[in-house]
């Protein structure tokens, strides 16, 4: 059966996807519906992290403002719902178009900078989004906005109910992973990956790298807005708190934990982050302290993140053969 993954890490990822696909049944069987909630939230974040990894991992664009697109996606559900427009296709179209427009306008400016300036300017733009929503009294300002009903997809699959929403999330996560995989291995993606290492060289080979990077930035923002749209539906409540730069920082950490510039790294990183957060906060209220130490240790000793460790297993099993 040569369609099965051959590497150890590939098998682990395949098993992980299988478990995720069966998760609602597993949690029902062990009678722990709360875990489905936790997993739903983790997978929503994973979509955002997969999209961040597209620009950060493959493109070398370290954005500290990616959570803005989660917020944009969520408010594209919240604000229409506030006016009793519950059509999901409308929400989806709004989320994709607003995030693409915002990413195009801000990315056009951000991508003229490099390194630490890029980090600062992406953060500045996301803070602008944060304070914009914070000042919109009509939509709850810092109290947030309650969404009374989930997006409606008439004559399509409903989002109502924990299990069907979970499968919406899972399906969009798979779609995001597949899309990123195909994009990165297409010539477009190879140009992005090449530019990360040597941009002047890519330009001397005839590529306007600025446009390529901008296109990549916009695509990542659009994928991230899907996560926002799902999050709005999942929590039934949105507030500017989802957009703050600390949130963006968490997304960056999830990428690093999982493995920068790998396909499944972001998914694994997000799962580990969310689970650790849950477990540690059950042990002590000072869980941030333990979490911080773990993160420092990971950055110091765990080069390549969890994917890096798994690929060590690949090499070991190869050596055995």
């Amino acid at each position: 059966m040569n369609w099965l993954p051959v590497t150890v890490s590939g098998r682990i990822y395949a098993l992980l996807l299988l478990i995720l696909a069966l998760a609602p049944f597993i949690f029902e069987w062990i009678n722990q519906p709360f875990y489905l909630d936790l997993l739903s939230r983790a997978l929503i974040l994973a979509i955002a992290v997969v999209s961040l990894n597209l620009i950060l991992g493959f493109g070398g664009m370290v954005s500290l403002g990616h959570a803005a697109y989660i917020g944009i996606g969520a408010y594209c559900v919240g604000i229409p719902s506030y006016y009793d427009y519950y059509n999901g296709w409308l929400h989806l179209a709004l989320a994709l178009s607003v995030s693409a427009t915002f990413a195009l306008l801000t990315g056009a400016i951000c991508l003229r900078t490099k390194g630490v300036y890029f980090i600062m300017i992406t953060m500045a733009f996301s803070q602008m989004v944060y304070f914009t929503f914070l000042s919109l009294e009509e939509y709850g300002a810092d109290d947030g906005l309650v969404i009374y009903s989930r997006s409606e997809f008439p004559e399509f699959i409903s989002m109502d109910g924990a299990t069907s929403l979970y499968y919406w999330i899972f399906a969009l996560l798979l779609a995001a992973l597949f899309f990123v995989h195909r994009l990165v291995h297409a010539r477009f993606g190879r140009v992005i990956v090449g530019s990360k290492f040597n941009e002047p060289r890519m330009q001397a080979l005839g590529f306007n790298t600025y446009r390529y990077r901008l296109a990549c930035y916009v695509l990542a923002a659009m994928i991230c807005s899907l996560a926002g749209m799902l999050l709005g539906n999942f929590t039934g409540f949105i507030s500017p708190d989802m957009i703050g730069w600390a949130r963006s920082g968490e997304l960056v950490f999830m990428v690093i934990i999982g493995g920068v510039g790998t396909l499944f790294g972001p998914l694994v990183g997000t799962l580990v982050f969310v689970v650790l957060e849950e477990v540690l906060s059950a042990i002590t209220v000072y869980w941030h302290l333990i979490f911080g130490i773990l993160l420092v240790a990971l950055v110091l000793f765990g080069k390549g993140g969890i994917h890096g460790w798994l690929s060590l297993l690949d090499r070991k099993s190869k050596a055995h053969d």
Binding site: R187, R190, V191, V193, G194, K196, F197, N198, P200, R201, M202, Q203, A204, L205, G206, F207, N208, T209
Partner: protein
């Protein structure tokens, strides 16, 4: 007619002037060389031509129209391919990806370079196709860098330090390949130090000293003039 022409080009790094009125030309279908000691402005000249360095005054013409001030990607699209100093292979792409990621037919050739043709041209790359760019020997890297430039189907190929740091046997292979490229009608601007090895394929030489051309002439004049070599090239 000259395909590429530089007239009085002056280029600065910040406030430091590197080129002091560089003037040279590349005739179509010929191999032109730029020689001189280190730090004399050869690579700066290349950077000015391909648009990675901005020249402050003077003029660079390709096919008769000025190209100075154009961004590097536009210059490349006009048909100038570069094999840069130090190869500059993308280490995070495989050999195959290095070749095909940027492939284009900028000269609108009827018989363009393809992956198959490049592999026929440099058979050593065949067995390395799936290796990462970082896993190649110097010679293989140089073959890949030349192959990558050919995959753009340029009209002018610039090689900056074509054989620097390569073993004699590899150098011989590179020279043979460049000779084939010349016979196919490609215009080449070559920078290298092994004058005796490439003199027979080159047509016209420009010696650079302190940011300008101090001598120009044919291969026989260059190789027979020991004084010239001693004075400007330190050989």
């Amino acid at each position: 007619m000259a395909m590429l022409e530089l007239n009085g080009v002056e280029t600065y790094y910040g406030t430091i002037q590197a080129l002091f009125g560089m003037s040279l030309y590349c005739a179509e279908g010929r191999v032109t060389t730029l020689i001189g000691r280190n730090g004399m402005g050869k690579t700066t000249t290349v950077g000015s031509i391909i648009g990675t360095l901005a020249c402050r005054s003077g003029e660079i013409r390709f096919d008769g129209s000025p190209i100075n001030g154009k961004p590097a990607y536009q210059v490349a699209q006009l048909g100038i391919g570069l094999v840069p100093e130090g190869r500059q292979i993308f280490p995070n792409l495989s050999v195959r990806e290095n070749l095909i990621a940027t492939a284009a037919n900028f000269s609108r050739s009827d018989d363009p370079w393809t992956l198959e043709r490049v592999l026929e041209f440099f058979p050593r790359l065949c067995e390395r196709l799936n290796n990462q760019g970082s896993q190649l020997s110097g010679g293989e890297q140089q073959m890949l860098a030349i192959g990558r430039a050919l995959m753009l189907n340029p009209r002018l190929l610039i090689l900056d330090e074509a054989t620097e740091g390569l073993a004699p046997l590899i150098r011989q292979e590179i020279w043979r390949r460049l000779e084939e490229l010349k016979q196919s009608g490609l215009t080449i601007l070559l920078i290298d130090k092994n004058i005796d090895e490439f003199a027979h394929i080159a047509d016209n030489h420009f010696i650079v000293e302190k940011g300008q051309v101090v001598w120009q002439g044919g291969s026989s004049e260059l190789t027979s003039d020991a004084d010239l070599k001693a004075r400007y090239l330190g050989i």
